[in-house]
Amino acid sequence: MTLTDEITRAGETAVAIIRGASSLEELKAAEPTIFGKKSALGSFKRSLGGLDPDERRDVGRHLNTVRAEVGDALEERRRELAAEERRRLLEAERLDLTEVPTSPRLGHAHLVSQAQERLEDVFVGMGFTVAEGPEAETDWYNFEALNIPRWHPARSMWDTLYLDLGDGDNVVLRTHTSPVQIRVMQNQGPPIYSVMPGRVYRRDTADASHMPVFHQIEGLVVDRGITFGDLAGTLDAFTSAYFGESISSRLRPSYFPFTEPSAEFDITCVICGGGGCQTCQRTGWIELGGCGMVHPNVLRNVDIDPEEFSGFAFGFGIDRLALMRHGVEDLRQMFTNDVRFLSQF
């Protein structure tokens, strides 16, 4: 057998070993027996020394070719085994995503907070600031400054909760956020473009549409040349911005001691879009709140000259808006703090 043949055979043997390796470890372990100094292919190099130059060149070339083939076979096998290994590992990690139990922790802001923030955002966009004030107020801030003296028959419009502070009935839980209007006018003066959101109190028994504690947002604009038309236009702009372009507003004469002319503020029924339904008692309109031109007496009470400045004010319930938006039927549900309710929104 010639050296060339031996080289060829050794190459075939090496390739067979490589192909027979069943794992990367086995392959790695076999490597020295193939290419190492003591391996068959390794030993041929020494045998070359005894050959004549021509033969040495031919055999050397053959040896290099065989070594390269074996090297390629090794590389190929390594790639195959690596790919197999990866497939095996990945298969071992196979996961049915639908069988995985999860418990996502989704927090929830209260419906009233959500509605209040949305309302604030709309008014901020219209150039209003947001004013806040105390929930317990003196009679003066809650009533007298608002043109509702003690004997005024209109006091019966608000069922008032009084605080027992040993000073008669001077301190009340505010029945509206209007006291904040008074404070803003006192502290700041015109021009005023502000909304007053907050918690208010009435001596009302809780039922599906009443709570002794609820939330209101009022608005106040005082500036030179403010008209009733401005009031109507502002409420209309707000209505479209908050409820959508298809919803409009209208004003009907009403009475509040602190505004004159006064109005009820209706919007297109958001349930039926104005066609008439149970919610709107087939009128196509829903009463949202009250509004009007700030009464000159109120301006005088805070030292604003009603001849120089005029203004308008409006107010409505936040809770009811949230109720309407989500189709909640009973106002009381908003305040039981039942997680089955709260985590729906």
Binding site: R105, G107, H108, A109, H110, V112, S113, E117, E120, V124, G125, M126, G127, F128, T129, V130, E132, E135, A136, W151, P153, L161, Y162, L163, D164, L165, Y193, R199, D204, M211, P212, V213, V221, G225, I226, T227, F228, G229, D230, A232, G233, T234, D236, R250, R252, P253, S254, Y255, E260, P261, M293, H295, P296, S310, M334, F335, T336, N337, D338, L342
Partner: protein, 787 residues
Amino acid sequence: MKVLLTWLREFAPIEGDPTELGEAMSSLGMAVESMETFDFMDGLVVARVLDLRSHPSADRIQLVDVDAGDGEPLQICCGAFNMAVGDLVPLATLGSTMPNGMEIARRRMRGEWSNGMLCSAAEIGLGSDAAGIMVLPEGLTPGTPVAEALGLADEVLWDLEINPNRPDAMSVIGVARDLAAHLGVPFSVPRWVVPETGESVSEVASVEISAPELCGRFVARVLRDVTVGSSPTWMQTRLSLCGMRPINSVVDVSNYVMLELGIPNHTYDLNRVPGGHLGVRWAREGERIVTLDGVERDLGPTDGVIVDADDTPIGIAGVMGGASTEIGPGTTDVLLEAAWWNQRAIAETSARLGLRSEASARFERGADWAINDLATDRFCHLMSEMGATVTRGHIDVFGVIPERPRVTVRVNRVNAMLGTTLDGERIRGLLEPIGFEFEPGSPADAPVVVVPSFRPDTTTEIDVIEEIARHHGYDRIETTVPRSPVAGHLTGYQQDRRRARRLLVGAGLIEAMPLPFLAPGDVTRAGLRVESPVTLANPLAAEESVLRPSLLPGILNAIAYNESHRNPSVEFFEIGTVFSAPAPGEIVPTENEHLAVALAGREAPGAKEYWDLLVAAFDAPGATLRNQDDLPGLHPTRGGVVSVGDSTVGVVGEVDPGVLEAWGIPERVAWLEIDLGAFLRSEHGAHRYRPVSVYPSSDIDLAFVVPDDRQASEVEEVLRDAAGPELARLVLFDVYRGEGVEPGSRSLAYSLRLQAPDRTLTDEDVALIRARCIEAVEDRLEGHLRH
């Protein structure tokens, strides 16, 4: 206020579609709450009860034979027992349909045939009485349709919501006047003719006003030959539809006149009023009177009274008459009063006595003082049609009546307020039909108008401007949007509050919103030590009589509610106001906005995590936590106070197990409550930029054995101080008690990352810092490095 179309038509030719008329009234500020027509009454006829027989096999229904017009007895089964033989009742005949959609068919009830249905007033829309079968007025012919018999064929009934500034609209004529002006049709009140006979009224009666500021006007007339019987059917029908129960001819006429003209009036049995003398004065302390409703009432010096010749009170002015002079079945001579009372006096008396009547409601809003004589004439006119005779003349005594204000109405002011371009003529055209008179010769651009006596609410220019706007039409005023010169924005505090809410929602908490009211025992039950929580003077219920001094009790209620509905381990937060007694010299309670986190099913460390979260989110550099035993409401050995800088802002820990037991909460609750205002008022939120060092950092771990009475936070403080500016991060990663650590101490293992902004720290640098840290803990905390 309920009004009927036919009644309105007696004062103005009002025509049109009922719905459109209703909308017109709404647009005038008299909102229509409901509207009824009576065309459903086809098939509903008058029937006479011929016989009442018991049902052979049922106790709760009886057999009624009625004459439905043909004279033949028709058997009806009926569940009511209030009618008598001879009564006239409404019968829904076979084939008719009830307002609720029920069709009437012949059917057997417990074996007996029923050939129709007898109806209650409520069932056919004639009032609210559903207790028994409606007994119709005498004199109707059986077989006639009820609608026709009662004159309801073209009738429309509106229920109007009348605002407090519209006393005029508390009457049929007031509504008719407003609506007529809107429709542009004439309005007038007839002068009713009263046939007078016999002596002059002043011979049999007299009136003396001793309190002129209380009683502005007192008109009296005397009627004789009065028969107290039933009033005519048409009157009873109108009264019933307008919500007043027919009683007898005198009471019915009195109510009719009040509804029609808005003038409450009162009748006395003349023979029970000695000498026919009535006096008006303020009551005296200690005086008492039994009112018409049979209740004895204490009077005081702020109450007006009508007294007899002996100066004994026989009526409370404007609120309710006395029992002693009440009209009875045998009354033949009637002394009639139509007075005008001071609004405020009536309001105060009515409120003080808790006694509200139709009369007091009208007087306290302000009745018309100009037509009291007309009202007595109308009363006498109606009574004379029932056979009474009327003595000659009126007694008409005046006290202090309000002046009719003369108001200058500047045309440009009107337009400046409304955003309109109305001229003087148009304004006049709007105001005159509703009773405002224009003073002749006043300037065209600022006419002086005289307010009608029936509009006591109107005294100033702005009041008149409202009337102009109302009759011009709110919907005809062009809308404009004023341009705010202000940049809309939230305050820093409002933005921070929103950030806190977003942070906690993002961390998976649910925002709760309990009512701020507590039951009296809740404060102590929650372990809170509040000397005197703020209480309500007039709570609706005792359980809602205390204003919360802390968010804890309300949240515990919320957790307990959820636990009891099989929802344990709820994690809540709340942002809300708490109240405490007024600060010295203050009138109103102190209010603070608190933020609370409550984690049911978790222990104190859970709450501490949220405190750390807040501190990190708001970058509050001065924030500290200090353990403290026995904090109110908290687990006595698992609580701490949190501070920012020098001010304590709240507590963190776990709710006292005893408190949880009292609330029936079966798992632990981690609790954090801070004064959000105080927290946000202290230094926070700078988030100052620190250059990110490009030089490598070195980490060293140090475990110290420190006595238990040294808080870990102290170790941390000492390490920060000792390590100096090269300390980039400090983390407590292990706490160990047990073998190898002496009792009464624990090992606290910290990881320190050291880094300089301007160079690579050398091994010597690191060793130096390490040594400083060890020395500081040894010197200041009696701790030592764990070996």
